[in-house]
Symmetry: C2
Subunit: 672 residues, 2 copies
């Protein structure tokens, strides 16, 4: 018996422009087409430009991690992995570069993947209200065109050529807590105790940059996290795993083995003269490992063993766009400026010059143009390879962990990404804020990321930057209980946002308890989506393309084949409007109890108190629900019951660790 | 016959803490109460703290210009006039300080005005989920408590003690266009021609800072705007007025008469040693006129005559928080730093020190603490008087213009404000962005400002910062046609957003034409609100306090007694949900034609295309509509017809210039 679904086969065509770098995003061998690129008007000169007419009711989907709509019409996006914490409506680049789109017009439906490590701009009816204009200054690119009868078909086919999405261990579907930073073991113990005392489930606590010795990768601060293996064990006995951060930059420090090995073996990115490029990040001046070099990936990846040997089972790769606070070049140039200015009259003009110069040093173009990679295909300026950096850092970890712990899945996710990285890890959507609009943005980004292969995803619940509020956190958790990565995380200097610190912690407990009751379902749907190259989160527009209201509903999502979610994302809300494209069963969690209501197709105003969760089971469908537990490993699947109007559900189960995903024994048809 | 409504009389009580500065926000003489402050628990020691319990279904309204909800529950606000263009959900201070709130609990309903020039913090169920906590570090404050049976009563009574709101000339209800900056006369002519060529109505074009000679107040750049009186006349012949900006800071420049007069007469704010304080703004180093000194107000105000003599009939006061790019003190301190750093080793630490220091100079606390005002009650540090600065700049202009052109209303609005300034001018809501969320924020801020006396208000339509889009501008205009100040404005470096530049300018024309058809109504409702101390824009919660859905509906507003508006504020929307708390008549403008639909009380999904406008006329009400014209003065009121289910409407008309507002002849009952 094989419950995995048959792949739909459609024609995928590949078109080469210039001499494209092989990004390894696509892993399936596809012959390049001899005819010219269909659908688009193409201009290929010093750069590339593809245009296509888009009419009023047409849509452009995709682009993964991006602001604004599920339908990308109405704005302009730059694919450029950017460490920019200001995720506003004007933000054109986030941490990922995900150049896959689906274009739907009155007479055309196709997917297109613009595969290049360089910047690509997607002007989606922004400059001209009826044109999609895709441009790249770099003239080298591979374009894949995917035809299909439905958007699902196109996505599935695209996913089949980029390879199976990363699968985390089952415990990584638990609720997890983070903060920049829990400064020592007692701080971590305090958090664990806070959750356990109020009986709020918890599966992991993250260790942000301060666990390291002066921010050096693969070191542990002995004063604050000494005897880490024992501490890891102590926490694990309580059902809590520790997940450390790994940053991209390697501190320049004599005697630090990783720095010295890197220098000795030429493992770091170099400047134009071939010397290791120096840039300041958290550790101070660092070098960047040249992850585009396979030998470097193997070397850096092997270092994760230092931590897995201590008992660590999950990692989080950060600062890998790479983020640059400023380079040594900028420091030197500033020094020259101030030497001149100190000896001259220091006026408004000099002040302004200095202010502008220093203020523009972070993640600046000059720095990204000033260092180089040694790849198997030659030496390239970073600028032209930029979008592959975070991808290959996580690939380095993913491939190494495969070798280090071949029999066990390890949690791994990254900030920067490119399509291809989805095979090695998940992503979290970076440094968001404690803003209501960022709940809505998470809703919109989930299906877009799924289209591009990223399934293990989630936002920092409660918001990373700015100060959270009790109601914001409750509402965000009510979305977060449905996302594979469910992490509460906050920046240094912001209000503490561990759930047990707020009034009425039982409100938080009830919501997070529901997550644990849903894990058999969420895990099953995740595994089916990964195994079958399908989307876990789906826009209503994809499922009900003939329903014009559904096509414009971007604040609700389908989850798997059974659920629809419609989270509240506004302050002081009595509830929200929900559109039902077909009749459904509303499930309301109130004070830990579930209540069911049959609802008709159409528009509804649904009251949802901030300590309640409401979700919808689709017509004829049922989902499994088990008893809650304090952590994933304690979930008792024998307590599963099916809820909803349907009679059966295809459950996926396994031990949560091993990699025999497609074993038919993992699939079990539950019946009422 | 007197159509103005009788004022409702309720008890207002005044409570003094410490030795409060008389802000002149309240103009009615009220005896101070002998008993202690009701409703709040008060702590009066080195500062002031007032607390009151707030339960789940309670509400706190008011605070004028602020982010987030109409109901302020769920966040924390600082009353501190701030030049901060990042209007995000985390923003705690905008340009105005409007310390009036209405508290509504299960058993209490009252208004409270915390009258002090110093910073006040309103923690509205943010730190504690059931407490409103109001704090000030300054121990001097006058608190007014206003009781009433309804929120409308309380607002009306409050408005009666702060004095009648500013009334602009009628032409200022026309559509107006601005940009930072139209650089010369030909640039302005091009804009005028653009609108006239497409027959899109237009009443004014704004002159941003570049019309001045090196940004010197009350000067005109002869090269770009020479022979200004003739140009003003030329534009006026086309029905277009020019509205110049006036900034707070006076350029330090030998030979510049205003600078020299100010220095000679000690009219500028001084540093601790009594020397004029120096701060850099657009003109370079400037001094700030000491607007808290009545003699300075008279002097500075008299300068507006330079421009009214040229034919100018409207002004816009800016940068009057006051905004400070950096002070001479900061320049000097930076110079000291770089002299030291140039001679030492310049490392990461020095770079960071310099980066942080220079980056923190704009509008910094040190500068606001470093200059002083000479007021009739003595010398005060600016920090403690901060919130009165913009207010008194606009008062300076308003009082002077009253003397300069006693028989004619002059357009006047300001960026910074405090309650009291509403008597002298309007406000625009500052440097917003081309964000969809800023359309919604404008909806929420309109009634909050009305509560505080600010009636002539509006946001920069299309967004000031960032790049606008065609659909955003169309949707924003569809709200803007209902706001008294209707201005399209954009920052330097952003996409041009004059309506005629986009595809299908007829879509823009149709929406702006509707504005002109509505002007008899909007002007009447404005005048009634001003004369009767009422709100022009009202939250549904105020009108339908027993309707729990209405109480939570914050994206719709009542306009006057007849209309409800429900603008679309999301991208790619098919329409939006609208809640009707009672049956209404929907009016849809499509391609210039109006279509009417009777709608039942309840929830509706209303389709609204981006080139359509839908608004709602209330049960039994009618509104006047006239024929469109290219500018306000060409409106022909003989073309007025009444639309809607009602039979009559009380129209206010006058010549649009004179000040005989309450003349009964201005009110006319129209009947079908």
């Amino acid at each position: 018996m094989n419950f995995s679904r048959t792949a739909v086969i459609f024609v995928i065509k590949k078109y080469l422009f210039g001499k494209p770098f092989y990004t390894e995003a696509v892993v399936k061998n596809i012959e390049s087409a001899s005819e010219s690129l269909p659908y688009f008007e193409t201009v290929h000169s010093t750069g590339l430009k593809f245009t296509i007419k888009i009419q009023k009711d047409d849509a452009v989907y995709g682009l993964g991690e991006a602001m604004r709509g599920i339908n990308k019409k109405g704005y302009i996006y730059n694919s450029f992995c950017a460490d920019d914490p200001n995720h506003t409506e004007a933000t054109r680049s986030l941490y990922g570069a995900h150049n896959f789109i689906v274009v739907k017009t009155a007479d055309k439906l196709f997917g297109a993947f613009f595969d290049t490590p360089a910047v690509v701009t997607f002007d989606v009816c922004y400059s001209k209200f009826d044109e999609l204009i895709i441009t790249s200054e770099n003239e080298n690119m591979t374009v894949y065109i995917i035809d299909g009868d439905t958007i699902y078909d196109i996505v599935k086919e695209f996913r089949s050529i980029i390879g199976r999405s990363y699968i985390p261990p089952m415990w990584a579907f638990g609720y997890t807590q983070s903060r920049w930073s829990y400064i020592d073991k007692d701080d971590v113990r305090r958090v664990a105790k806070g959750y356990r005392d109020f009986d709020i489930p918890l599966d992991a606590i993250y260790m942000d940059i301060d666990y390291m010795e002066r921010y050096k990768d693969f070191t542990v601060n002995d004063k604050t996290f000494g005897k880490l293996p024992e501490f890891i064990e102590e926490m694990k006995e309580d059902g809590i795993r520790l997940v450390p951060i790994i940053d991209a930059g390697v501190k320049i420090e004599d005697g630090y083995d990783i720095y010295e090995e890197g220098v000795k073996n030429n493992y770091f990115c170099t400047d134009k003269d071939g010397k290791p490029f120096e840039a300041c990040v958290w550790p101070g001046m660092t070098h960047f490992p040249d992850f585009l070099n396979p030998e470097v990936r193997t070397w850096f990846g092997s270092k994760y063993k230092i931590l897995t040997d201590m008992g660590i089972e999950g990692f989080w790769n950060d600062m890998n766009e790479p983020a640059i606070f400023f380079s040594q070049n900028s420091v030197d140039a500033t020094h020259e400026k101030i030497k001149r200015m100190a000896s001259e009259k220091f006026t408004i003009d000099e002040f302004n010059e200095l202010k502008y110069y220093i203020g523009s040093r972070q993640n600046c173009d000059e720095d990204y143009s000033a260092f180089y990679h040694n790849t198997p295909s030659g030496r390239f300026c970073h600028k032209d390879m930029h979008n592959l950096y975070g991808y290959n850092m996580t690939r380095s970890a993913g491939e190494a962990l495969e070798a280090i712990v071949p029999d066990k899945r390890i949690l791994l996710f990254s900030r920067a990404s490119y399509i291809g990285m989805h095979r090695y890890g998940g992503i979290w959507t970076g440094d968001n804020h404690s803003w209501w609009s960022h709940i809505l943005n998470e809703i919109k980004v989930l299906p877009s990321l799924n289209m591009c292969g990223f399934l293990y995803v989630g936002a920092d619940i409660g918001g990373f930057g700015c100060d959270t509020t009790r109601d914001l956190l409750l509402r965000w958790l009510s979305l977060g209980i449905f996302t594979p990565l469910m992490r509460n995380h906050a920046a240094a200097g912001t209000r503490e946002q561990e759930c047990y610190l707020f009034e009425r912690p039982e409100d938080f407990k009830n919501i997070i308890d529901l997550r644990y009751r849903l894990i058999p379902y969420i895990y099953s749907e995740y595994m089916k989506a990964a195994i079958n190259n399908e989307m876990m989160f789906k826009p209503l527009a994809f499922e009900f393309p003939e329903d014009k209201v559904a096509c414009c509903t971007e604040d609700q999502l389908l989850l798997g084949d059974e659920l629809m979610i419609a989270p509240v994302y506004t302050q002081n809300a009595l509830g929200r409007y929900v559109y039902l494209p077909e009749e459904m069963t509303a499930v309301r969690m109130r004070a830990g109890e579930l209540f069911f209501t049959e609802m008709e197709k159409g528009h509804h105003f649904v009251e949802i108190a901030e300590n309640e969760v409401v979700f919808f089971i689709r017509k004829g469908k049922a989902i499994p629900l088990c008893k809650r537990a304090k952590c994933v490993e304690e979930l008792d699947l024998s307590t599963i019951e099916l809820i909803g109007p349907g009679e059966e559900y295809l459950l996926y189960t396994d031990d949560g660790f091993s990699k025999d995903y497609e074993n038919p024994a993992n699939f079990r048809m539950l019946k009422k």
